[in-house]
């Protein structure tokens, strides 16, 4: 099954002619010569040949096959044009059947093609032969077979099992599909390790904190732009990056006609450049703005009576600087605590105060707050990652999202929504296959130290419920709670993508055995003992993702588009992938399970064989492909991949299962598997406006069942965490670097949404400027630096320059420092320093430096790096961003608090 052989050219040329393309070129081209001779036999002959050639190409168009783009978490459903003759992928576009975006995909999807055909992809497994691990140290990779590679990994795991130290096994996850439980959850459970660490905390977890502790939903939202009249986007750039960029880009032109759009952002982002209002706030101060806007809305009587309530005598007592007697206000059944929010936080947070604090005019604050309030409930306070991925960002997230509560746009027409019920099934779980050794290992603390006093990570209200990704490096380095001996990483580049990334280089160098599953030899792979090349998610594998917008959610399949029959494992292995690569979440665990069984531990193999038959035929993997040779195992592994996706999506395509075995809550219905996978996309019903409102018979998932302005659910969660550590809530907040306290009149209240001053990482004297990291519009989650379209069109990020890594500085600041456009500069912070090129640009708030994330690779590929494995191209933002956290959510800090200095080199 090795793909190392190149395609044989023994078919008489692809086009069936006796001469190849090169002959044609020699005969007919060289226009200068032909023209010089005038019309001649040469050129006539070339025309005739050209005609034959062109005729043969006329039908050479190909078929559109369904798959999904995973270039960001818009996760757009896609259609891939595959050439009939050569199986070449020619094109990718949005799925025409998607109600969310149709064929209108954002540019990131197109970069996938350059990724697929990137020569720097790893084409087969490789083993490190140089035992020394370090940045810039050549691993001296050598090719190795899959059989050998999997065997090496299995040996390492068996040793942990034999020594009863399975907690020293670790899995790290990056970009996934919803087949992820197999590799990310079940595999470590069966082996016996609690150490499965996801990337979520370097994504935008703090953003979920806001909706969680107001309406009980730890999730991202979708926004009803089609029906809204006002949008305030807080550090969100929906035409540029996350989430559902395709939909919002398509809608944006119309949105500008029907709504007022305001953007809160220190730099002039893509969205800001096209909007009605730009509030270039000082980094870290968004919370002040949110409080001031809430103040105006209540002061001027613009709140939603239906959602919030009313004063019993109708007289508005929300008077600046005056507290309100709660007995005078009758709360709506939909929400609670607005008076407490006013009394504890908002009463004196007027626009003049906010203007001083954030550096934006009071008049603009008034105007936007008024416009927003008047447009309610068709008004959206759009919460992005910018204001929240900060040391004190959780409270800002609450404040921003609570504005939706004030105007009643929560779950409402023209407001904020979630996803309707989705008809996918949980994958079969491994409980019966978890033995005592595994149980013992599972009963250990996680390596990221979540749940400790200093890491509440209150996902879903649970102490230690969420990941603290970046802190896993420290856990590894300190061997606290334990050493990590074996790491299996997939589709992540933690050595690059975590703030203060050098700690990860050290942590990875320390781990004795590391196998990585990815497409490229990344910075992380440079420390690995094994590189296991991954299939490309957009084109080469089974998988499933989902998109959420336009009042729906869709379930989107990844399919192996280059195979004729994706259900035929042989076809997929031969034709469905460019190289000898395998699918992270399914094929590799399966092969590993076989290898472990060879070595006497067969729980995983039994689990897969027993629980993952083909649901249509009932055939187990071993029934479908018997045999113990490696090729048969590879076929079973691919069949396992197919079976898993069929099991996951079964309610959608299997009527009997849907009717008799599943709690089906609506959506499209398919009659069989082939019908579904040929289409590759499924839609829920539409979101029902207001269905969660208690006044409509619904319920919010908070402890109170209502939308909370008073932080009741947060209070409960904080108290649980405090109790767990035998301390009080104030101690938790102090240890975690928040200003709020429970009953201190000189600090903000710990429970209501409130403003906290930025917690500056660095002395403001030594590091006088704020660093504004932002994501690259063509970033593909950091994986596009090696494809030249992302470099040639880099100026899609306003202020950026093609092919160049730049830091954008306001000309006023530059002049003060004697820096001119194009100068080489150094950016330094307490965490480190980088070199880059200065770009003077007016769209930058003075006192800040904005820099697109994603440059600074020293590995990954020849375009991404200056010299592969040795020298970085550009400056890497994570070298100046220190490892700090918004501890209530567990999120890494990227924004708001990063202090830097800049100077000419």
């Amino acid at each position: 099954m090795s793909q190392r052989d190149t395609t044989p050219s023994d078919d008489g040329g692809k086009l069936g002619f006796s001469f190849g393309r090169r002959d044609f070129m020699k005969a007919g081209a060289v226009g200068a010569v032909a023209a010089g001779l005038g019309s001649s036999l040469t050129s006539l002959r070339s025309v005739a040949q050209a005609d034959d050639y062109r005729d043969a190409l006329v039908d050479h168009t190909g078929t559109y096959k369904p798959s999904t783009c995973a270039g960001c978490t818009s996760w757009c459903s896609a259609q891939i044009l595959v050439d009939d003759r050569t199986r070449r992928v020619i094109r990718t576009r949005g799925h025409e059947d998607s109600e969310i975006h149709g064929t209108h995909d954002c540019p990131r999807q197109d970069l996938g093609i350059q990724q697929l055909y990137d020569p720097d992809r790893v084409t087969q497994p490789m083993r490190r032969t140089n035992p020394e691990k370090g940045k810039g140290v050549d691993p001296e990779f050598e090719p190795i077979s899959w059989e050998e590679a999997i065997g090496m990994l299995a040996d390492e795991i068996m040793e942990l099992r034999e020594n009863d130290e399975t907690e020293k096994f670790m899995v790290t996850r990056g970009r996934y599909t919803y087949l992820r439980p197999i590799l990310y959850s079940y595999l470590p459970q069966i082996i016996g390790s609690p150490n499965n660490i996801s990337h979520s905390a370097i994504c935008a977890e703090a953003e979920k904190f806001g909706p969680m502790f107001t309406e009980g939903e730890w999730a991202y939202r979708q926004y009803d732009v089609q029906n809204t009249r006002y949008v305030i986007a807080w550090g969100a750039d929906p035409i540029s990056s996350n989430r559902q960029v395709s939909h919002y880009s398509n809608e944006f032109g119309d949105l500008l006609d029907r709504a007022t759009v305001a953007v809160v952002e220190p730099r002039l982002s893509s969205t800001a450049s096209k909007s009605d209002e730009w509030l270039p706030v000082e980094p870290g101060k968004d919370g002040a703005l949110a409080s001031a806007m809430a103040h105006v809305i209540l002061r001027d009587g613009l709140w939603s009576r239906e959602f919030v309530g009313e004063f019993e005598d109708g007289e508005n007592r929300f008077v600046p600087d005056e507290r309100v007697d709660p007995a005078t206000f009758e709360e709506s059944e939909n929400s609670q605590g607005v008076v407490e929010w006013w009394n504890e936080e908002l009463y004196d947070k007027d626009p003049e105060w906010a203007a001083e604090e954030v550096g934006v005019d009071a008049e603009q604050i008034e105007r936007i707050a008024t416009g927003f309030g008047e447009a309610g409930p068709q008004a959206i306070s759009w919460l992005g990652g910018g204001p929240c991925m900060q040391v004190r960002g959780s409270y800002t997230a609450m404040a921003i999202h609570a504005l939706n509560g004030l105007v009643g746009s929560v779950g409402n027409r023209g407001g904020t929504m979630y996803a309707p019920s989705t008809g996918v099934e949980d994958l079969p779980a491994p409980d019966p296959y978890i033995d005592e050794v595994a149980e013992h290992g599972l009963n250990n603390e996680k390596i990221d130290q979540r749940g400790r006093l200093e890491f509440p990570a209150l996902k879903d209200g649970e102490s230690g419920g969420g990941v603290v990704t970046n802190n896993a490096a420290d856990g590894i380095l300190d061997e606290d709670p334990n050493e990590i001996k074996v790491l299996l990483s997939y589709w992540n580049n933690f050595a690059f993508s975590n703030p203060e990334s050098k700690r990860w280089e050290d942590a990875l160098a320390k781990i004795p055995f590391h196998a990585t599953i990815e497409t490229h030899a990344s910075e992380t792979a440079w420390f690995a003992d094994l590189i296991l090349p991954a299939t490309h998610h957009q084109f080469e594998r089974w998988g499933q993702l989902r998109s959420t917008a336009a009042r729906r959610r869709t379930i989107n399949l990844h399919t192996p588009v280059m195979a004729d029959d994706p259900d035929d494992p042989r076809d997929v292995l031969e034709n469905g992938r460019l190289w000898d690569c395998k699918t992270d979440e399914t094929e590799i665990p399966y092969l590993l399970a076989e290898a472990l069984a060879d070595r006497g531990f067969d729980n995983m193999l039994e689990f897969f064989d027993n629980e993952y038959p083909d649901p249509e035929s009932g055939r187990t993997l071993r029934e479908e492909f018997p045999g113990d040779d490696f090729e048969s195992r590879e076929l079973r592994a691919q069949a396992f991949s197919r079976n898993a996706i069929k099991l996951r999506t079964r309610p959608i395509w299997d009527p009997a299962y849907r009717e008799n075995e599943f709690d089906w809550l609506g959506g499209e219905e398919f009659d069989d598997w082939v019908e579904f996978r040929e289409r590759g996309i499924w839609h829920t019903d539409e979101w029902e406006f207001r269905h969660r409102w208690p006044s409509e018979g619904g319920e919010f998932a908070t402890d109170s069942g209502r939308f909370e302005f008073d932080g009741e659910t947060l209070g409960n969660a904080l108290r649980r965490h405090a109790d767990r550590h035998d301390v009080d809530v104030d101690t938790v907040l102090e240890v975690c670097n928040y200003q709020g306290r429970v009953a201190d009149p000189d600090t903000p209240d710990a429970f209501v949404p409130h403003y906290e001053e930025p917690y500056d990482l660095g002395d403001g004297g030594e590091f006088p400027m704020k660093f504004v990291d932002h994501k690259d519009r063509l970033g593909r989650e950091g994986r596009s630096a090696n494809v030249w379209w992302s470099l040639e069109y880099k100026d899609v990020n306003p202020g950026d320059v093609p092919y160049t890594d730049v830091a954008k500085i306001n000309p006023r600041d530059a002049r003060q420092r004697g820096i001119e456009d194009g100068d080489e500069i150094v950016i330094s912070s307490p965490a480190g320093e980088i070199e880059t090129t200065a770009r003077l640009w007016e769209g930058i708030r003075p006192g800040t430096v904005a820099k697109t994330w994603g440059q600074g690779h020293w590995a990954y590929g020849q375009r991404a790096s200056e010299e592969m494995g040795e020298e970085a191209k550009g400056g890497h933002n994570n070298l100046v961003i220190g490892a700090e956290y918004d501890r209530l959510s567990g999120s890494s800090v990227f924004y708001g608090d990063v202090q830097v200095d800049i100077e000419r080199r």
């Binding site: 393309r21 070129m25 050129s43 992928v89 020569p119 009605d276 069109y793």
Partner: protein, 274 residues
Amino acid sequence: MSSEPESLDAQMTAELENGDLDDEGVDLSMVIDLQRCTGCAACNMGCASENNLQEGMAYSSRIIKTEGQFPNVSYEYTPTLCNQCEDAPCAEGCPTKALYKGKGNITMHDHEKCIGCKACMVNCPYDEIYLNKEDPHPTWEVEEAAIENGTATPKQVKERAGVDEENAPAYYNPNREVSDSEHPTRYKGVVEKCNFCVHRLEENELPRCVEECPCEARIFGDLNDPDSKVNEILGQYNEDVLKEDEGTQPKVKYVRDYNGGSYEAGVGEPGLSD
């Protein structure tokens, strides 16, 4: 969007199907609605992919302008391409008539007549003509890999992808070479330019950039068809063209403003909202 009566793309495609490109009276135009444009460069990448363009050869490109002073700053992205001028200086000044006004009134290029003299490049006020100084896509002929026996050489990728053509990328689009007016990949010594994807038009497909734009900001059709979408939008809004003073009478027109909000660039406070 597929749920609506008929998408813009579908309507414009229907116009192509009902028309005949070879008719004398067809006068193709593209209107770019700057309010819908979000400056995402999908058009540029789609064009590069469709036409097998190498780096630096961007038929579809952009002009970006930042004006004003913080906080009263405006940023504008203007998508650009060959303007298919009515009065085309490139064709006027071409010594061999390699450039000429062809079907649909597209400014066409016949590579067989081109002597690579670059007069057209000098004459074009928009810099929309590109010279092949070398045989293109040399990077795809390289036979070295980043990691020997671990990653691929570009040439190996091409072989694996089944691309026999020289001077072509691994994701080579063969459909580009189908038309009468195309030459099978290009070569050193000739120029080339956007031709409204005439190879697609002949198959009743919209130019790639039009189809690729996620914002539906590009409207394409026949100016001589009174019912066409281009005339519909030109009826709604005032049109602009690039470098009007040059007198080239471009067929690529612009409507509305990139900054579709009411923000007034460089004028005091940000503009009042609607």
